[in-house]
Every structure is written in structure tokens, then in C-alpha cells.
Symmetry: C2
Subunit: 219 residues, 2 copies
Amino acid sequence: MKPFKRLLRHIGVIPDGNRRWALAQGLQKQDGYQHGVGPGLDLYKTCLELGVEEMTFYGFTMDNIKRPSIQTRAFKKACVDSVEALKDWDADLLVIENTKSKVFPEELKPYITRTCFGEGKMKVNFLVNYGWEWDLNQAFQKADEQITGSMIDHIASKDISRMELIIRWGGRRRLSGFLPVQSVYSDFYIVDQTWPDYHKNHLYQALEWYQEQDVTLGG
Amino acid sequence: MKPFKRLLRHIGVIPDGNRRWALAQGLQKQDGYQHGVGPGLDLYKTCLELGVEEMTFYGFTMDNIKRPSIQTRAFKKACVDSVEALKDWDADLLVIENTKSKVFPEELKPYITRTCFGEGKMKVNFLVNYGWEWDLNQAFQKADEQITGSMIDHIASKDISRMELIIRWGGRRRLSGFLPVQSVYSDFYIVDQTWPDYHKNHLYQALEWYQEQDVTLGG
């Protein structure tokens, strides 16, 4: 990764605060999501330039779909648009999702197996209708098969690698169910600004902060 | 919980920075751990007064035991002493551990089933020779039994409830493998001071900060 000394392979992104941003603009809550699509592509492109090898975006969750339908329609559309936008930018794309639910957007079904666009320069994982307990339980559901190794090789998100850094926008200091296995050793960086107010300086500040952290992997 | 408005049932504690503290005092790294025993009891007693119902302390992990033996002996002793100290203070004590390992301290074996001391006013969980992957894999190992429900009902730490707040001392902003299932919705509060420099104001500041957070449980 240039121009940063310390190698960072995989960044997780929690793009939170879309509804708060909308209210602050005098808009309706659901209007915030669409303003998060552009920032997602901007962030991806900057990470691509820096040589980041993998990114995971926290789209929406099985918890989120309990919200009013006007909101769920809005964030589903924003997710679909975000994924579609990546197709023009050399993403090696994987959507992790609970497809058994009716909530899962049909448009994203082609990407539940990893799909390479253009030169496929970066692995990009998008969590859509994701649930942490569902993720873990996929390993458990295979209990009647011959299983070897660790359960982490059998969870729904097994193709997503460990994240070195998680950046969360919108000021909250928690994971909210974001990939419990891949986040065990991740450093957390919190951006107080809400996601639609993304600026590339947020990323640079996170990466500069990360340079000063040690990596122990629990040791 | 008094005098705080917002109910907080369960606090997780990551008492990090013992070795850095020792070096800063001109001591050897391993000398720091014993200076963390007193702070643990102080923190527990203050939480007890406040009416906190459950606390979980991150003792040491299966990753940690890769360290030099002079250090592993020191943190094992500090863990044993910390647990023993709680016996005089109405703790309802549970030690979660990988007992199959030779590293597990014999002195703590009586507490691998929950043991009530005095009036048993607070559930206190102590993670000793803990590993997040080991924890999750315990559910998986039972694959040949008749299993119902979710895997989280079968992990090694199934008797530990979800944590609302995790306080980490020593400035690092990560979980380091601390209870991946129980931390999915936890708010994280970081204290920059290292653990042996614990002061009850750290706890009060964390609780005051927590009052301002919303609870969505991912919704």
C-alpha cells in the first residue's frame, strides 16, 4: 500500500448515519441512503489507487429489514445501485446474503458467487440482508455432513478474509453484528461524520492512525 | 443502575497494558500483571455498588500463552489471585476455559461450573485460557448429537449473556478475540491509561458516555 508503510490488506466499512444525515438536511429519513452510493464508489476508487486488496461493505442486515418499508425499499435500491456501480471499476465482486429471504434483491443474485469485472483488481464483498447469527449457523446446519477443520471454514462468509481495519462512519462505537469472525482482531476507527458526508480525508486519517497500531493477532 | 438513568446489565472488561505499564515504571514486563489484581477488585466493587448485574473479565487467552514462560506464569498467577479475591465479595463466579490444555490453572477448576459466594450478588465471568475459535467450535464439535436451535446456544461461553458495554484499558481499539458472539451489539469505550493505572473515574466516564448512546440491537 502506497504511500503508507504498513501493509493493510483488507478494510471493512460500516457506512452508518444515512438517516441522521437526511434529517439534518431537512429530508425524509429514507432519502439519505441514495446519497451514500456516490461516497461508496469514491471510497472504493481511492482504496484501489492505494493498493488495498480487499474491502467489505456492510450493506443492510436482517435486523434492518424490520424498519418501515419506505426505508427498506430505499436502502435496498442504494445497495443494488452501489453494487452495479462497482462493475465499471474492476471489482472482483461477491455478495454475501441470505437468499432464502424474500427481501434479497433479485438484481444481486448473479453475484452470490464471486464475479470478476474488468481486470478484477480488488476483492469487494457486499453484505446484503446479512445476519451474524445466520452467518455462523450456516456451519452448524451442515452438522449431518462429514465436517473437518474449524467451524470458521464453513460459515456463510467463509470467503471473506480477516479485516485488519474497520472504519465506521456516523460516530457509533460498535460492530452492530458486522462479521463476528472476521472482526476478532480488527482495529476500529470511528469517523464522527455521517456516511453521506464522506470525504477521502476520513480514509487518510484512518490509515494514518492505523500506521501507529501494533499487530499482535491476540498474541 | 444508580445514579445512571440508562440500564446497563452487563459490562465486559479488557484489562490491557500491564506490560507497557511495567516498562514505564522501570520494571520487567511480567511484573505488571500482579499490579492489575487490585484494580480488578476495585472495579468489581464499584460496579457492585452501582447495581451492575454481570461482568466479564478477559483474563488470558490461548494466543497469550505463546509468550515467554516468565510472563505466562505471571499472568496465570494474577488471574488466580483475581478470582480468589472475588470469593470474599459476593460473586456468583464462572470461569470459562479450555480445561483440556495443560496451561489451565488447577486452582480454578472448581469454578468451571458457576459457584455462588456469599450472597452471590453479581454474575462474574472470568475468561481463562480462552480462545474465540475454540469457543465457537464447541458448538460444532457436538455435530453428532441431536442439536436444536442456534449455534450460539451451544458455544463454550453460552452461559455468558450479551454485553451492553465493553471497556478496554490501554488505548488499543479492538476486541482481540473477546467473546465474538456476546460482543456483536456492544458499545466500545476505550481508556487510554493502562490497566494497572485504573481509577474509578474511568468507569464513571465510560458509563456517562454510554448514557448518550442509543440501543438498536442492529435494528
